[in-house]
Amino acid sequence: MYSWILMLVVLTVMTLAYQLGRRRAIMTVGGPAQMKHLHSLPAYYGLYAALWAGIPALLLMGLWIGFQDQIIIGLVTNSLPPGVREGLSSGQISLLINDIRNLATGNIVSAQVTPEIQAAADHYNQLQSVSQWAMWAAVLALALSGSAFAWLRTQPRMRARNRVESIFLISMIVFSSIAILTTLGIVLSVVFESLRFFQMVSPLEFFFGTNWSPQIALRSDQVGASGAFGTIPLFTGTLMISVIAMLVAVPIGLLSAIYLSEYASRQVRAAAKPILEVLAGIPTVVYGFFAALTVAPFIRSVGAAMGLEVASESALAAGLVMGVMIIPFVSSLSDDVINAVPQSLRDGSYALGATQSETIRYVIIPAALPGIVGSILLAVSRAIGETMIVVMAAGLSANLTANPLESVTTVTVQIVTLLTGDQEFDSAKTLAAFALGLTLFIVTLALNVIALSIVRKYREQYE
């Protein structure tokens, strides 16, 4: 609570520092009329000061809030009479501290309040308030000295803009590296378990086996029974469902994008685009029910009418509905890039006597291709990552089949069911989820590398 106020105070200091820095910069050159002698715009000097005031102070505050609890708890624990904490494990101490804290904050306490505990709670409260005050003082001091430092540094020759910009640039680099860190985190969080898995199940079987059936391995005495962990049916299932989904999403999405950006009136576009975007936000449970209870029976009855054998759960039903879900990924993103193609290119094509559709197909789409491919890749990614629809409409049986009318399952679905089902410690069944995750990661990585090189090849840069 108090930290919010402190944060506001720091923000106020930053605002003040901005104003002062700005004014100081103008003053160092002798008034507004001489502003040309400043290296940068006065606003940059202001920003420079504000950043000096804010960043160290906020960093300190973050660290303080992050660590104060640990430190206070350490202090309280140490000051507990030895009789109280003797023989307690760290977990038990944490429970004790929890109790002390509950007492200190006026929550319900579990057991009898002994004088020692009461004393500890008082101690806790006292430390807490001391820490609060110290934090206020330290943070404010830092904010003020930061401002003062910036104030002193402010002179006409200082490259304020460059400094401010390099802070922005550094933060952008940090942002970009989050993606790398995420990848690293993902790899690290699955790789060890995967290795354990591969100690139990041979990679050969995992990658080339055609039978996926974690049920056989359920019993500890049957771990690794032959053929139980072959992932080929999972990957073919994933492929089939994704392909079906893309067969729905790409034509509908791309044609919608084209229609909306090239043919439709402004009003139609303004209305239709956000409505289509809603498709991306409908919870997948809804799609799942829709696929399982509306689409699947429909396909089944159509199939029956044509004398086809259709399973009640089919890849087709799941794929079709998933395709609907990812339409906006293609339609909206492509619409934006198509809309950004300069008018002069359209003019150039029309002037040669091209019809609108020819212009679109031969000039606009190629020019917008990198963006369109990006949107399609995103849609494919979403299709690969989706579970609920598949579980509800395509079932969970890992069939190795090329028939979309049969039930299949996907890698992601297996990961989710393995992770959320009745897990066991260290059984191949649970660990398989990690191995699947890692494998999927590598497979999609390879696909992306290929996609990137294709896009590079066909990239067309206008102007």
Partner: protein, 288 residues
């Protein structure tokens, strides 16, 4: 050098006062005969608005067969706008309205029944700002013939691309890199590429909006030669800022001013004996 500056100063003042004068000019009746003996295109009482701003005011003008018409006039007077009316490229500008009648071979091009695609296949255009497609040089030229199905096989298309590029004087410079993007060319090269692209579909009427503005004299000469050659079979309207160029390539010249067609006539006559004060002011300021 000083005298030159003085001349310019004088002219400048002249131009500005002319612009002011234009405000209270009498209802602008075009001086000179706007019609020709065998017209390819006829425009009557054409008005063009961009939103509420009128860019072309009641212009009537014919384009004859086998003639080159040049349009001159100060920047912003509506030359490009008028040119764009002739193949309905104005359709693509939101808020642009055209009234009056424009006919191609006797048929109203703004007629509902008329098809802009057919029109534009007959009336080609080279834009003021070169706008090559972000495709290879070859594809840029081959695009038109391809969509219209003008060639029957790859060899014919190759030939057509080559002749078009040759005529635009670009062949030698690009023959080794036909597969490289047209956008990587220099400004003048891009302009010639756009010319090649337009003549590749051999339209009946070719509208050229300052086709030589980015060209050096040699390239300009090639284009002018091309224009002269094309005249035998086509109608050509060319916007230019170079009076010399107008004099060299065109048979008739039209002078625009602030959206009005002030004067039109034989090129020789316009340059030697302009009737309207504005035309004369503009012509005598010649030093392009």
């Amino acid at each position: 050098m000083n005298t030159l500056v003085e001349t310019m100063n004088k002219t400048t003042t002249g131009a500005i006062s002319a612009a002011e004068l234009a405000k209270d000019r009498p209802s602008a009746a075009t001086i000179g005969d706007v019609t020709v003996a065998n017209p390819r295109m006829t425009c009557r009482n054409v008005d063009v608005w961009y939103g509420s701003k009128q860019a072309i005011k009641n212009v009537s003008l014919d384009l004859g067969k086998n003639e080159v018409l040049s349009m001159i006039g100060p920047s912003g007077c509506g030359k490009s706008t008028f040119l764009r009316c002739l193949n309905r490229m104005n359709d693509t500008i939101p808020g642009c309205r055209v009234t009056g009648s424009i006919k191609l071979n006797g048929q109203d091009i703004y007629d509902k029944g008329l098809d802009p695609v057919l029109l534009r296949a007959q009336v080609g255009m080279v834009f003021q700002k070169p706008n090559p497609f972000p495709k290879s040089i070859y594809e840029n030229v081959a695009y038109g013939p391809r969509i219209h199905g003008l060639t029957n096989n790859k060899a014919e298309l190759d030939e057509l691309v080559e002749t078009s590029l040759r005529k635009a004087g670009l062949w030698d410079e690009v023959k080794d890199r036909l597969d490289q993007p047209g956008t990587g060319l220099s400004g003048g090269q891009q302009q010639r590429l756009c010319i090649a692209r337009t003549i590749a579909v051999s339209p009946e009427v070719i509208l050229m909006d300052e086709p030589c503005s980015a060209l050096d004299p040699i390239a300009t000469a090639i284009i002018e030669e091309l224009i002269d050659e094309l005249r035998a079979n086509y109608t050509i309207a060319i916007v230019t800022h170079s009076m010399q160029q107008a004099a060299r390539v065109s048979q008739r010249t039209a002078y625009f001013h602030l959206g009005d067609l002030i004067e039109v006539g034989e090129t020789n006559q316009i340059f030697t004996n302009p009737q309207h004060k504005l035309t004369e002011d503009y012509i005598t300021g010649r030093f392009g």
